[in-house]
């Protein structure tokens, strides 16, 4: 909406793998979200912290999609919620919480007008189209609701706009008079996308937008999202656990484990040369697209570790099949992301990457599992 002069990015702290070249809309710097899970007794008790997100940084650039991948509980949804402003970053008070910048401005210092603009510019599409639309509202009302709150349009203008949006997402404008239950899953997801588009946003957070849909409809929705991105130069944050979807949709990928980004960079660079053991394990567990493709599975020992009081060092330490040297410095301090190729960053410790190892070392025969 605002046609201001060039945004100033000079004050934003640098982060690994991030630059200000693409004039990012959202910049996330070292954000943390720690939840307190118990109350400590005075003087003797110890507070337990569930570290859902711990020191995550990335940029969101117009026209690009960043994918957050990982198992459930890895903090990808919490990260997205903080970008949406639905959760505030927080820690135990001693560690900095990190910052989120919207067009170069720290969201904590935004004026109320600035915050309003951010709310308009950042929208969301949710996973389950059955529970994200109000069953008592007509579709045109659902789509026009953001317009009612954020603009001064008249009822008639809003209805026209709702019809235009429906047409844009591939539905008929007259279908605005219907109720959500009269639509199939794919059509409902289109309605959700139309609602997100209503205020001409710059960024849409997509939380598993296709995983609740039928396979034959998924391609329709993914293609629609790609088309809309090209048309409006939209930025997307895509939360997914299906790696094939990520490879199809995302320009940048961040693989998360226990609230920490383990591998980050250009999607093709990562898929061409997956380096972190966890990324390799996720890829090896993905379903093949043809019966003749046999992937040897990499099975990490143990289950996803609890995010309550994670180790002070590398969070992946407890899952690695490789030997962890007791007094290595990364057992006590968080290892940083290291650039290992063009636009390709990975957390590098002696036990967390496949560098210098033959992948077959990690393949477990079927009987060894559990």
């Amino acid at each position: 909406m605002t046609t201001e002069e060039k945004t100033d990015y000079s004050h934003i702290p640098p982060a690994v793998g991030c630059s200000n070249d693409g004039e990012p809309i959202i910049q996330v710097r070292n954000i943390r979200k720690w939840y307190q899970v118990n109350k400590a007794l005075p003087f003797i008790g110890k507070i337990d912290w569930l570290k859902a997100v711990d020191d995550v940084s990335f940029d969101v650039t117009p026209g690009e999609t960043i994918g957050l991948v990982g198992e459930s509980g890895c903090g990808k949804t919490t990260t997205a919620k903080m970008v949406l402003g639905l959760e505030d970053p927080s820690t135990d008070g001693e560690v900095p919480v990190g910052e989120i910048y919207f067009q170069g401005q720290d969201v904590k210092t935004l004026t109320s007008a600035g915050r309003k603009e951010m709310r308009r510019s950042v929208q969301a599409v949710f996973q389950d189209p059955w529970s994200s639309l109000n069953p008592r509202m007509r579709v045109s009302t659902i789509i026009a609701e953001p317009l009612e709150i954020n603009t001064t349009m008249t009822k008639q203008e809003r209805d026209t706009r709702a019809g235009d949006l429906l047409a844009e997402v591939g539905l008929n404008p007259y279908q605005g008079n219907l109720y959500p239950h009269e639509f199939s899953g794919g059509q409902r997801q289109r309605i959700g996308i139309a609602r997100a588009l209503a205020l001409n946003p710059k960024l849409i957070v997509l939380d598993e937008p296709v995983s609740a849909l039928d396979v034959s409809i998924r391609a329709q929705i993914m293609n629609l999202l790609v088309d809309l991105q090209e048309e409006h130069n939209l930025a997307y944050i895509l939360i997914a656990h299906n790696l094939a979807t990520v490879r199809y949709m995302c320009h940048v990928t961040a693989v998360m484990y226990l609230g920490v980004i383990q591998e980050y960079g250009n999607t093709e660079a990562i898929f061409a040369n997956p380096t972190h053991l966890y990324t390799n394990a996720l890829i090896s567990a993905a379903l093949p697209s043809h019966p003749d493709i046999k992937r040897e599975e990499i099975v990490l020992p143990g289950e996803v570790t609890s995010p309550v009081n994670p180790p002070p060092g590398d969070v992946f330490m407890s899952r690695t099949p490789l030997e962890v040297r007791k007094n290595h410095k990364y057992t006590k301090e968080r290892p940083p992301l290291i650039e290992i190729g063009k636009d390709h960053y990975v957390v590098e410790t002696p036990w967390s990457t496949v560098t210098g190892h033959d992948l077959s070392e990690f393949h477990l025969s079927v009987d060894e599992t559990m």
Binding site: V215, S216, I217, R247, Y248, V366
Partner: protein
């Protein structure tokens, strides 16, 4: 020559005893049909009229084989499975025709009391949502033990041992302590394993798995699929795997049946389906999934929505979504399922099979 081959197959009797000791894999399917579904029809009475949710389904599964049933929601794949188990609620549903032959007899004709021992004993089902399949107020021992108590008539310590055994079979760590847990104390993957343990506890001949992995993470899903394969190789059970994901089919199944609007539109060996799909719907389903192995260009997509079962198009139900060119008369012909190639069945219609002319002698229309 032909006679010789025929006698060879009959000379190979398969007894249950040898099954247990043998290792089964995709390559060692026994030539013994264990479940045969013939022209199964299930109707539902709704306020919009009668819905043919399962409209003349026929397939058979051999011992040690995995048959994948693929289709969108509303294509009738779950209704078929529930009809086989005789779990269709009546009214509104009713099995109006067909046979389900399990171990040599039609289980649609046996009395309900006998059916209780068939269900869970000879044929069992693993449901999609482990949170709904398990009762939150009973511990794992109660729920796995219930099936064991009914089918193996065991009580007390013996039953407990069997429960622990079943949990061990699905690779639940520390089964003795886990058996005393309640469902909410387990993770999603573990819960799904418990549901699996109930399913396999009485060594069924057929396991119907109804999308058991849709609510699981990729890594957990991979482990669960591997587990099912292992159980199959240990017990020689036949698995009917209901899914909408061709990735699972590629990983798990020996044969595939693709369902659309209550009917099977194509059925063949898994490699045949992936390499030479004949029906446009199958082709579209396979090609519309993004690939992990390479960067794909724009995905081809199937236009339109799945049809409403109470308002089905006449004739070929796939015609309105088909990318092929055809006349209106062609669309009105109700196609038949024919064996276009050896062991490759397809619902032959000019609207949805590109090479229709190649096979048109097989049908009376066209």
């Amino acid at each position: 020559m032909v006679k010789k081959a025929a006698s060879k197959t009959t000379e190979k009797p398969t007894t249950k005893k040898s099954v247990d000791s043998d290792r089964f894999g995709p390559s060692t399917i026994r030539d013994e049909v264990i479940l045969e579904v013939k022209n199964l029809q299930t109707n539902f009475t709704t306020k919009w009229g009668t819905v043919k949710a399962c409209d003349g389904i026929s397939y058979s599964v051999k011992r040690g084989e995995t048959l994948g049933i693929v289709g969108e929601s509303g294509s009738g794949k779950s209704v078929t499975a529930l009809s086989i188990m005789r779990l269709i609620q009546s009214p509104p549903g009713e099995i109006v025709g067909g046979e389900v032959i399990l171990n040599g007899r039609d289980i649609l004709k046996i009395p309900e009391r006998q059916m209780t021992s068939v269900r869970g004993g000879e044929i069992s089902m693993i449901l999609q949502d482990p949170m709904q399949a398990l009762n939150p107020v009973f511990d794992i021992n109660d729920q796995v033990g219930e099936a064991i108590g009914i089918h193996q008539k065991l009580r007390g310590k013996k039953r407990w041992e069997k429960v622990v055994d079943a949990l061990r079979k699905v690779r639940i760590p520390a089964p003795q302590t886990r058996a005393k847990d309640y469902p909410h104390q387990l993770s999603g993957g573990m819960r799904q394993r418990v549901v699996g343990a109930i399913g396999i506890s009485s060594n069924p001949d057929v396991i119907i798995a109804d999308e058991p992995t849709t609510s699981l993470d990729v890594t957990i899903q991979a482990a669960y699929l591997r587990l099912l394969k292992q159980i199959q190789s240990e017990t020689g059970a036949a698995i009917v795997f209901i899914t909408h994901d061709f990735g699972i089919v590629a990983k798990m199944c020996d044969r595939v049946a693709v369902m659309y609007a209550g009917r099977i539109v194509e059925m063949a060996d898994v490699r045949e389906i992936f390499n030479n799909p004949l029906h446009e719907y199958t082709k579209a389903l396979i090609s519309s999934v993004p690939k992990l192995e390479e960067k794909t260009g724009r995905l081809p997509q199937i236009e339109g929505q799945p049809p409403l079962l109470y308002d089905l198009p006449q004739g070929d139900t796939f015609a309105p979504r088909s990318p092929l060119k055809f006349s209106e008369e062609d669309a009105l012909i109700r196609p038949e399922l024919v064996e276009a190639k050896p062991n490759h069945f397809v619902q032959l219609s000019r609207c949805s099979v590109k090479d229709f002319d190649k096979y048109k002698d097989m049908v009376s229309y066209g």
